[in-house]
């Protein structure tokens, strides 16, 4: 997860610049009114009968990164993801993919982008019921007029990757929901695209299957290094999957950051409410809750380091809790053989509670 793959400082390959989407016949006039007269959501609805879907959204995604957009239904996240392959045209703003403004693409250029560089997975699978699994998976190659033998061969490889070998001749309605979504995933990766657009791919599945598919997807994403935009309404899923998470609300991105940042430093009360119930055990590391050895010693006197149990800076709270079961003493955090910090029991418990800022200033 985030600790092992901090990829977001890589060269951005997806960039949304001040993206707006307003739905309605008077969208352009509504846009002007927002810009010049500072109309808000209610004004726009009343004056123009328009609904704001995406509101001044800018973000960039680095190569190989998994970027999660998390929001409740109606927050505009599905609209946002559809801007990246122009299933939805923006009212204002630009989308740049691999250094190219896709708003300027010709119809055939756009089809090429969709067929060969982007794979999309849908919440409701959207498989074609009249085609077999193999024909479904081969669709993007068929669209580009690859001959039958090539495309079915490629489809079989993709089907094997999602572990559905032997099901190629079945029809979608003969498969369970989880298998259908694996077909959806196979269809998305068949053309070996650079990008995956995942629109709540696992939301319609029951929890156990969802977890299996998340694991399968993570493994796949790691192997294939696809830059992924992943939409979800489930914060747990976003944390499991995302290198970075963007929280979306009423068409705006209210916070963008690593899962740890989102959970430990929510920007506002909306995000705070969201992350309140999230378990920090596997998310927060010692680096975040430890205090410098010097600070501890000024408060409590010199530390007898010989008896202390050591831990690493990137150990999770879960691991730290495990270590401190057998000792009343604080844990010492080591890096490259140096002692870089101390984690007291209080700090650990506060960390598990998610209350970072109450930790300092007390004795052990």
């Amino acid at each position: 997860m985030s600790s092992e793959a901090v990829r977001h400082d890589a060269e951005p390959v997806i960039e949304c610049r001040k993206l707006w989407k307003i739905f309605g016949n008077d969208a352009n006039r509504a846009m002007d009114a927002i810009r010049s007269e500072g109309f808000n959501k209610e004004d726009v609805l009343k004056q123009f009968g328009c609904v704001i879907g995406v509101r001044d959204v800018s973000f960039s995604v680095g190569e190989g990164e998994i970027f999660c957009v998390m929001g409740l239904s109606g927050s505009g996240k599905s609209t946002l993801i559809r801007h990246l392959n122009r299933l939805v045209e923006p009212t204002a703003g630009e989308v740049w993919i691999e250094g190219e403004n896709i708003g300027t693409l010709s119809p055939s250029g756009l089809r090429e982008l969709r067929a060969s560089r982007m794979g999309m997975v849908f919440q409701n699978m959207a498989l074609m019921p009249h085609r077999t699994v193999r024909e479904n998976v081969a669709f993007s190659l068929e669209v580009r007029r690859h001959d039958r033998k090539t495309r079915l061969g490629v489809a079989d490889e993709a089907i094997e990757i999602v572990e559905l070998s032997g099901w190629g001749d079945r029809y979608p309605d003969e498969l369970s929901g989880g298998m259908q979504q694996r077909v959806g995933l196979a269809r998305a990766i068949a053309a070996d695209p650079h990008f995956l657009l995942m629109d709540e791919p696992f939301s319609a599945l029951d929890p156990l299957i969802r977890r299996q598919l998340q694991d399968q997807f993570l493994k796949l994403a790691k192997d294939m290094k696809k830059t992924t935009l992943f939409i979800t309404h489930d914060l747990d899923e976003a944390i499991r999957i995302g290198d970075r998470i963007a929280i979306m609300r009423e068409g705006m991105l209210v916070q963008v950051g690593t899962p740890e940042q989102i959970v430990m430093e929510p920007n506002d009360s909306y995000v705070a409410d969201f992350v309140a119930g999230i378990s920090k055990l596997h998310l927060v590391t010692a680096a975040r809750i430890m205090e410098p050895v010097a600070d501890y010693e000024t408060r409590n006197g010199p530390l007898d380091r010989s008896d202390l149990l050591g831990a690493r800076a990137d150990d999770t709270l879960d691991r730290l809790a495990e270590l401190s079961i057998d000792t009343d003493a604080p844990l010492i955090i080591e890096e490259d053989g140096k002692h870089i910090g101390v984690v007291t029991k209080k700090a650990l418990i506060r960390g598990i509670q998610g209350r970072l800022h109450d930790t300092a200033g007390d004795s052990a």
Binding site: L87, A115, G119, P129, H130, E142, V143, Y171, E174, S176
Partner: protein, 331 residues
């Protein structure tokens, strides 16, 4: 008292003007009429040339292939009954069948593209709907006269009159079928780079086929219901028998003609209804795996399999049932 008694907008006169127009444009109408007439006649002569026994066998096999064994039996029995009705009934039925098949072909040629257009354009759909309502409800006698004025009596006017009456459901159901296609599937096709025509031919039309075929079925039924009226403008066949029997109060002849029409309707309806159900609903995966071709193929394959020794073949046979219950996501 009657406010309308002194007003004459001249609608009747205007409609009557068709006569003059037709007379003036005889030169352009005539070649088209002759071409259509020849086409109808050649369809009929083919149907008449085939011996009844061969025809029954062919239609039964067709019914078996398209709609299954049960329908094939119904079709076979119905056709034998048709032949037994009266010594002349078979030939009359073939004449009627020729007119009906030709009318249905015209309906498909005209109606299918209009239906696609109506599905794609709300404005066109809105414009065409009242026209279709009119075509279906206006009494046939009203347009019988102008049509005869235009092209004269005979098979061609019979076909025109039939098409006017029978084409609306095909247009409606083609439009409905395409509009009903799940939009998320269409969106997925777009997301994978399909062009508008690829979406049409690879996604929308295949998924709309059952509804469109229901439209074709309705068109066939309506065409058959027009044969008696069409016989008033000198179209021959079973309808003409009914018409003549009516004039002579000949109940026997009327029943022969009437039952003949009913039997044709049953045969055509059962065969075309079967087409709307996919092969998979009947328990096999491809159309050629059922019916007579399936039988021939299975005999052929059985011959090959005995040579190879059956282990692989047996596995293939046992697997396909009930996959849904067995299929699991857990590994």
């Amino acid at each position: 008292m009657d406010p309308f008694s002194n007003i004459d907008l001249g609608i009747a006169d205007w409609a009557d003007g068709i006569k003059q127009w037709a007379a003036a444009n005889r030169g352009t109408i005539q070649p088209l009429k002759l071409f259509l007439n020849d086409s109808i006649n050649s369809v009929e002569s083919v149907l008449q040339a085939v011996s009844p026994v061969v025809m029954i066998v062919l239609l039964t096999l067709l019914a078996w292939q398209l709609s299954g064994r049960r329908v094939a039996i119904i079709v076979c029995v119905a056709l034998v009954a048709l032949g037994l009705l009266d010594p002349g009934a078979w030939a009359l039925a073939m004449t009627t069948l020729a007119i009906v098949l030709f009318s249905v072909a015209m309906c498909v040629i005209i109606g299918f593209p209009l239906g696609v257009l109506a599905a794609k354009s709300n404005r066109f759909e809105g414009a065409v709907r009242p026209v279709l309502d009119t075509m279906q409800t206006i009494p046939a006698f009203v347009y019988l006269v102008p049509v005869v004025m235009l092209v004269g009596i005979g098979n061609v006017s019979g076909v025109i009159v039939t098409v006017v009456f029978a084409v609306p459901p095909l247009i409606r159901l083609t439009s409905l079928g395409i509009r009903q296609v799940n939009q998320s599937v269409v969106e997925a096709a777009r997301a994978f780079g399909a062009s508008p025509s690829q979406i049409m031919f690879k996604v929308e039309l295949p998924l709309a086929i059952p509804t469109i075929m229901a439209g074709v079925n309705q068109t066939i039924m309506l065409s058959l219901s027009m044969v008696v009226i069409a016989s008033m403008i000198a179209v021959k066949g079973l309808g003409n028998e009914v018409l003549r029997a009516m004039g002579r109060l000949d109940a026997g002849k009327a029943i022969v003609g009437g039952l003949g029409i009913v039997i044709l309707a049953v045969v055509l309806d059962r065969i075309t209804q079967g087409v709307t159900r996919s092969g998979r609903e009947r328990g096999y995966r491809h159309w050629w795996q059922g019916g007579p071709t399936g039988l021939i193929l299975s005999i052929f394959n059985a011959g090959k399999r005995t040579k190879q020794q059956g282990e692989t073949g047996q596995r293939q046979q046992t697997q396909p049932r009930n996959v849904k219950q067995e299929g699991q996501d857990g590994e």
